[in-house]
Symmetry: C3
Subunit: 345 residues, 3 copies
């Protein structure tokens, strides 16, 4: 019984993480390696030579193939052997490392860990701000020693900002605005609408003008484990609403949690924005600031996981603020149930 959906796309790495040299990374319990071919397409293989199981990521790249460092078995990008350990031995093409389907989109390399024939790129979560015209996007990666669902809980409830991020972005006002949680299809939304408020410094500078603004935060969960957070402000006179708010300045915090084991995950995070998109320095400053904020979450989440392990008799409780996380977990559980019944997820 795993805790994640199998027939799904997961982020294996940033487009910039994966190059011609093999990168070893365990995805959903499976040791994998990733590299780019000369045409820059991405190969994903089980990171174990089919011969004696030495990690192939320790091997030598030869063109688009990978030669095992132990006995020289040569594996092609489809995972099948091209040369056996004894050079002139006849090649058995059924000797192979399992190959996984990959796809590059939204600045990420995605890998499909389930049945190959179901790997439809249309199922990749629509993280549109990462690659949309008129937007700029950048971010980074943390390895976090906790169940990936604890990070979903974290991101679907922004009240934690006040306490966890007390030294950085926390603001008590956040707690005063009411939130609303709703489910649409397999997405979960937690919305917070703050009409006619003073813009905090960052947003005032982004907007480039003084005056009262309408401010919003919309957290959205998407299967199998993404959260996008739509944040921004618009001048009151623009008449923005929680449904329609393209008139001001917007940012999109984009998060993807890829399970590594039951108790650890790969956390890919970044921020897209639709203003000052050519200001490269601003992009770098925002990434650095966001990295500091998410390092605060990392410390909290790893302590939480350890406490869960150390207090086996205690259970997580959920109040109103946790509804976003609770609904997201329900959607994962339901999708896993459909999967276990052989239905399309």
């Amino acid at each position: 019984m795993s805790t994640w959906l199998t027939n799904a796309w997961y982020v294996a790495g940033w487009d910039s993480d994966i190059d011609s040299a093999p990168l070893a990374r365990t995805i959903c319990g499976v040791p994998m390696l990733f590299y780019r071919k000369l045409d820059r397409s991405v190969v994903a293989l089980r990171d174990a030579c089919p011969h004696r199981l030495l990690p192939l990521s320790m091997g030598f790249k030869e063109g688009d193939s990978l030669r095992c460092k132990y006995h020289g078995l040569l594996i092609g990008p489809d995972g099948a052997a091209l040369e056996m350990p004894l050079k002139d031995a006849p090649v058995n093409r059924r000797v192979c490392a399992e190959a996984y389907v990959t796809h590059e989109r939204h600045r990420f390399v995605w890998v499909w860990i389930g049945d190959r024939d179901k790997a439809d790129p249309a199922l990749i979560p629509d993280l549109w701000p990462c690659s949309a015209e008129g937007w700029v996007f950048d971010g980074d990666y943390y390895h976090i020693a906790c169940d990936y669902r604890l990070m979903i809980d974290n991101l679907m409830d922004l009240t934690h900002e006040t306490y966890v991020h007390v030294g950085s972005i926390g603001q008590p006002e956040i707690l005063e605005a009411p939130i609303a949680t709703r489910v649409e299809g397999e997405d979960v939304y937690v919305t917070r609408w703050m009409p006619g408020v003073d813009a905090p410094p960052f947003w005032r500078s982004a907007l480039g003008k003084e005056g009262a603004v309408d401010r919003w935060q919309v957290c959205r969960f998407l299967l199998p484990s993404a959260v996008m957070i739509d944040v921004g402000v618009a001048p009151v006179e623009a008449g923005a609403t929680i449904e329609e708010h393209d008139s001001g300045v917007r940012g999109m915090v984009v998060d993807f949690m890829t399970p590594e084991t039951e108790n650890s995950h790969h956390y890919f995070w970044g921020m897209a924005r639709n203003f000052d998109i050519d200001d490269v320095g601003l992009t770098a400053r925002m990434k650095r600031q966001q990295g500091g904020v998410f390092a605060e979450d990392l410390a909290i989440l790893e302590a939480q996981q350890k406490s869960i392990d150390d207090n086996p008799g205690l259970r997580l409780m959920a109040y109103e603020i946790d509804e976003g996380g609770v609904r997201s977990r329900q959607i994962i559980t339901r999708a896993m149930k459909r999967e276990s019944e052989g239905l399309v997820p």
Copy 2:
């Protein structure tokens, strides 16, 4: 099946260990935190927020209460919620972190880990030399990676001094004096009486005179896991006996072993004395010397625990010198049996 008594008082810390900031310490398998209120009384709580289990010891003190660093749930000193994560949400007072009864006595903070209504301070082991008129007491703390009962064995048999403490306090003469072991109620005594001997330098200096002395060592075990060792000398002409020896100079080594897990414990140790009680420098020198001696025991006991784990087919054997430890363990086992039958321990 634990290896310790539950309805009992255990030392949580020195009176000086616990202050207004929370101290995290696992007692008998339970992650706990300890802090002092403004009136200096001590609060003990399960170290996990009832909401999402983040250790409360990471939180913010607010007066006598503790605010969780994750979502701001405010816990009062009785463990019950004072504010929910969402500031204006109605408070559910049944949301609480388990609170434990504490009591301060004999320079230690004690915690009761069993049923609250049985937490009678009269059951605190009578470590009287730690707080008696005419005596001075100080000591320190070691974390030791072994079953707490191995330390009881160690302290109830002082023949080990000759070998373990060969470089510090070990003296071959110790082995020549006969020992006697007896049980009185739930206490175990191991006595060694050395009449008409030369006083070793430390005791000669304490006594302040030359001449033959009667010397004694009396190890006493007290439930749930204390050992007090009465040591000293009296001039022969004072006519001291093993039962009555208040005429000379006395020290009391006081030891308390609080289980942390099955294979680790908190070791609180110190020495009380009834001579030169205003000599603060002597107190500090004795504590430093004792710390060095007990560090030698620490090395032995952790090696012994590892060897027990590495030799699963072998069993501890007991000879005459071990009778004190054997009887002490029997008393613990019997008390646990009574407890499991619902009787008062």
Copy 3:
């Protein structure tokens, strides 16, 4: 179910490893200690005092005996108590640490871990080059965190040299010569005969002359877990054959793998040679070079073991080059089966 033969001799250490001070080393799952008596014969005991299980290797040597550092129990070289913890207590000779039969041969100290009465020195594997007239031998020791059988696989297949030792002794030509595997009794041979080739620099220098040579590599497995590799060259005109090749210069790589746990072993390695045997500097240089080469194997084998553990669904596969390892494992398994049926191994 262990993975090794019990009624067998294993190398406990180099003759130079074991001296009068106790050496602690776990052999086939048993914590043992080794030391030399005044007459230089070797004592092997279970490394746990029969009294309270403190490792005896922490104790004090007294003549040929060992006094426990905890309570002073004195153990003689046969493992039986000579003094009890309380000095004048009558000695119970049935109190003892298990003693193991040892034997010194071929520069190694051997220990028998099975039934004492079966410990026949004639069963010690015949590593003759380590002590033969006209040969010189030296080597060293590595602790390796993998199943000892992975090292047997490694040594019984030299094609790995090309890849693992690409930076040191690897040569592509090795792959071009055919190998032959055969079983003789309980030994396995993998032979490679390279007639009329150019000698590589090391062998040309050893031979001391130019010209075409016949070159050989003969890997031989011996129970319970030794591998000897006969390597060398002879001038073509000497008419050497794979069966008879004493005419040129020969080296013997000698390897012994002693299981420590199921997933770790003690690796004793060295090289004997029958040329320039008085050149002490050459001996030291060869040992240093060999140490560098085997450190490359160590890195591969520990990565392989980790990958085996991380990919529980995958199995090792065997091709033609692996036949030497496969046959060697079969011989171990068959001997273990005979042992489990009560037959002589």
